[in-house]
Symmetry: C2
């Protein structure tokens, strides 16, 4: 059995955590092949912590060193597509961090290039997809247990970040450095899960607050109205200023409803009869009987599933799945080409707020990029004042 030698590009918080899992032998079929970082302090740290692991300060050198079979890109978002392409070009398997990029135009280039290399593994680090709760949720929806989706409401404001977090690096929460705020940095997990489980919205309208409760240029609160184009609607709400954060996802289908609380508990209510049929056959008197102290089991049955979350388990699962795909062709939980959907939705949410109107997906990529570049220019002139 082959062992995948992983090159870690960027040994910051995430890269460091992955190095830890792998060096502790927690990731099946994977070892650290090399580490790369441009920061001399990181070099010194690695020399001490991982003395036997080759260190590079240039990722191209690492790709060409023969020391790595695969890489993970734990670097600023803008760099993910470029590094993914450079790796794949050399037949090095690539696991890109989320988001796949900042704007769809660059992610499309990555995807198009990856399509020319079908034998090289291309994955994206959507660790929440390995969360047993969301795997179960996807199974419930895919198995049509609550029927055709009518609505999705997700309030996910558990991404609290204090001002000190934003002040920790000059590039953080800037248009030039990150290309956005909560949509690009924290919420991509849920933006991916929503589409993975419930489908890709066709239109969005958003109210995005830039520097609302934090002294930053980018967004710290987002309210989005989703239109799935097939009748289904929804809202997606996220923020980094709610220290008492809410995480509540509600999915209404014509055969029932699912509520996910705190990414820990799934409550499934299955209707005995589809709603459309109840509507067609019941009178208001029948309705009153149920709601005024009637027996709800005449209407639906309820199931509650509780999940334990183990920190790190999801990340290890993604690394293992990536290695397994390389080693024996096990299907990827998060194929790299899936990354574009979340970026497209995040871009659409930004664009809607900039234009003050509803936008359709796919959005005009050139327009998005032009607007993003305007923000970057504005930011520069502020800094230079």
């Amino acid at each position: 059995m082959m062992t995948v030698r992983l090159g870690i590009i960027g040994i910051g918080q995430q890269g460091g955590a992955y190095a830890g899992f792998i060096s502790e032998g927690k990731v099946k079929n994977m070892v650290i092949g090399a580490i790369c970082d441009i920061d001399p302090e990181k070099k010194a740290m690695c020399a001490e912590k991982y003395p036997d692991v080759p260190f590079f300060d240039n990722y191209i050198d690492m790709l060409e060193s023969g020391k790595v079979d695969a890489v993970v890109t734990t670097v600023p978002h803008y760099l993910h597509p470029e590094m993914g392409i450079e790796a794949l070009k050399r037949d090095i398997h690539a696991l890109v961090e989320k988001p796949a990029g900042v704007y769809t135009k660059q992610v499309k280039e990555l995807n198009e290039f990856a399509a020319t290399k079908p034998d090289v593994t291309f994955g994206i680090f959507f660790n929440q997809r390995t969360n047993p709760l969301y795997q179960k949720l996807k199974e419930l929806i895919d198995n049509d247990e609550i029927g055709k989706i009518r609505r999705t409401n997700w309030i996910i404001t558990t991404w609290w970040r204090p001002q000190g977090y934003y002040d920790s690096s000059a590039w953080r929460a800037t248009w030039a450095g990150e290309g956005g705020g909560v949509l690009v940095n924290q919420a991509p997990h849920q933006i991916d899960l929503l589409q993975w489980i419930c489908g890709v919205p066709k239109k969005v309208y958003s109210n995005v607050k830039y520097g609302y409760q934090r002294d930053i240029a980018v967004e710290d609160e987002v309210t989005t109205l989703l239109d799935y184009g097939n009748g289904a609607t929804g809202v997606f709400i996220t923020a980094t200023h709610d220290v008492l954060g809410t995480d509540r996802l509600e999915i209404l289908g014509d055969k029932g409803k699912i509520v996910v609380d705190d990414s820990k508990k799934i409550t499934i209510k299955r209707l005995n009869t589809p709603e459309s049929e109840m509507s067609a056959t019941m009178s208001m008197q029948d309705v009153m009987k149920i709601f005024m102290g009637g027996d709800v089991s005449d209407v639906y049955s309820e199931e509650v599933l509780e999940f334990e979350s183990v920190w790190g388990a999801q990340h290890i699962a993604v690394l293992e799945n990536f290695a397994a795909n390389i080693v024996d062709g096990t299907p990827l939980i998060a194929p790299g080409s899936d990354g574009i959907h979340g970026v497209a939705l995040a871009n659409a949410i930004h664009l809607s707020s900039w234009l003050g109107k509803e936008v359709e997906l796919p959005i005009d990529e050139e327009l998005y990029l032009a607007e993003l570049n305007k923000k970057i220019e504005e930011e520069k002139s502020l800094v230079n004042q």
Copy 2:
């Protein structure tokens, strides 16, 4: 002590319930003075059930009969303003049913006329304002217990109505007969409470679904994005097609959060330190400590209040408060002039969906009325085909 003789205009489901409460002696300082209805069957029913109560088939005759000191208008929505004005004109106290009218232009006429009669009592039947839970909630907000409001999210889809309900009368769920669907008929309670407790939004954008899951011309689902004009934002979601209805109101303030579940339970989380101060002083390490198994009491305290709901109690409380205002000047819980806010918001939500863009409050009343009349004309031509 004076006893208020109430004239009930329209003895349908609501009017009949009020007649029951009053005749059973449940409403302090109030008796039934007369009943009015245009339906001969109702006349026969009243002759049997309330043989001693004068019956009229014309409400103007009742107003001029000397038999009533006050009236309640349990009639189709469009008629509320006209009947309110005719009563007040004759110094008869008026309790109008919600909504105060269908469009603000007519409600404004009512309010303006009422303002010329400061000594005549003018109330509106917002029974939910007497609900102890919402009174407590208003007190919490007014007392600044969670600080300045940042967000309000209300999902209120407990208004399930089957197709049979809509088919029960020709005027129901039509533009000509009701002037709207869930916004005009069911949700006015919550639209009032939201503004009464959290303030009047300044801008709205909506996705309103007309005849989505029901065979009706008017709306059976509404998703609205609220902007309070002071930084605060929110969503308001309602529907009549969710038989597993959700009723969850979340209010985030800078000193805490309140969640109201099912109009039965208030959960208050009070921060030990305002969020803005936590943001200014805490590092990400401090944050991690709290969220990774730390003691949440270092951050907030939680209080849960449970309420029992008693059917009818709210309606009796409104009638009693109205009588008390007439008798001894007790302040009204729901002054009639408050009714315009809910109508204005409902109109704005409709208008935003018709124009496909965000609208500011107060909206252009003439434009709203022109658009509403278009809907009425379209409906006529459909019926006549």
